[in-house]
Symmetry: C2
Subunit: 215 residues, 2 copies
């Protein structure tokens, strides 16, 4: 029988690559999708459709972060359009506690279905300014699992990959990038201006691959 | 100006005592109340009323744990009535990941309003079987704060107190225990049979105090 794994899945470039990676390693993947009031909540429907098309089990966690002031959630704040992200600068799209919230539900799901791995698309290279995307943070969350004695391991296979490396890995794994969604502005088409669109474009350029989502 | 603190608050015996403790220490307390599908969700309304009566800021986080099989949530499972809880035995009321979910929202709230303390009523003496109530667990969550560099400290003042000691402390702090709710069965009156009722009764008995909620 296949070993069970939880995959934090938003149908973005990173988490989709990680999902394909986990599948390629033979895991029985259970997707965890979050509907937390993000402006680009079209990613929720997209992720559900994606998981269904792969015939995977999934759960959508519906929640709200009522105090949140992040521009990713708060409608009175515009998604920023930075020319470049300097190291150490935390963009207004940072949602305090978000990865810990995601991982805490993953712990709950993993303990319930007896999965021993939690895969996530955390990536510390091209977006190092979010404090909950650092290697130290991941290490501390692994210690939480140890203290809970649940035998769960956090797997962050693209943690040290650049966006270009992620895209090259995903292309090898046959990730249908045309079905992924990265844009922070949840409109009909990717805006091309938000940090997420820009990092994606930079990654495809550096990988020497055309982004199929833009065709 | 008073220092801000987040208090995980359910209006139960433990968290109410902790709230009064934090107020007695001069903190500007912001209550965090969880509506997560618990059968005894009358605690949510009770906690809101309580926080309002104390003129405290509060937020209710509404969420669901869709996979949960705990008897505290799952309607097809009966709340158990144990004669005694043996050490190491995890009762069916355990909600996997619950304290981590609670704390992850508290991290988010604390970072947003720049609170430097998170108070919670975790208690490892009379209910040592929940894996997310151990000193090791708390220590590992403190390490998560450190890795996030948010300067937030977890305060668990009754961690090593017996129920009787908690009740004695609360009585000194003038906690109106008649307004607290502990019963896992969210009916009109406490059932007196669930683990939570039994531990409460044992605590009051050992403290030599009558439970005003039963008058």
């Amino acid at each position: 029988m296949k070993q069970k794994a939880i995959v934090l899945f938003s149908s973005g470039l990173d988490s989709t690559t990680v999902l394909y990676y986990a599948m390629s390693k033979g895991y029985d993947c259970h997707c965890l999708i979050f509907d937390y009031g993000q402006k680009h909540n079209k990613e929720v429907e997209n992720a559900k459709k994606f998981a269904k098309s792969l015939k995977l089990n999934y759960h959508v966690v519906k929640t709200s972060i009522p105090w949140d002031m992040s521009s990713l959630i708060n409608k009175s704040k515009k998604i920023p359009e930075h020319k470049q992200i300097k190291e150490g600068f935390v963009p207004s799209t940072y949602v305090p506690g978000r990865n810990t919230i995601f991982l805490s539900y993953a712990i709950s799901y993993a303990e319930t279905i007896k999965a021993k791995k939690i895969f996530l698309g955390i990536n510390a290279v091209d977006f190092s300014s979010y404090p909950d995307c650092t290697p130290q943070y991941l290490k501390s969350m692994q210690q939480v699992m140890k203290s809970l004695k649940n035998g769960v391991e956090i797997c962050a296979p693209i943690e040290k990959y650049s966006k270009a490396q992620i895209i090259k890995l995903g292309t090898k794994l046959k990730v249908p990038y045309e079905k992924t969604w990265s844009c922070y502005n949840g409109k009909n088409k990717p805006c091309g201006k938000c940090d997420s669109c820009k990092l994606r474009a930079k990654g495809f350029k550096e990988a020497g691959i055309d982004d199929p989502a833009l065709k």
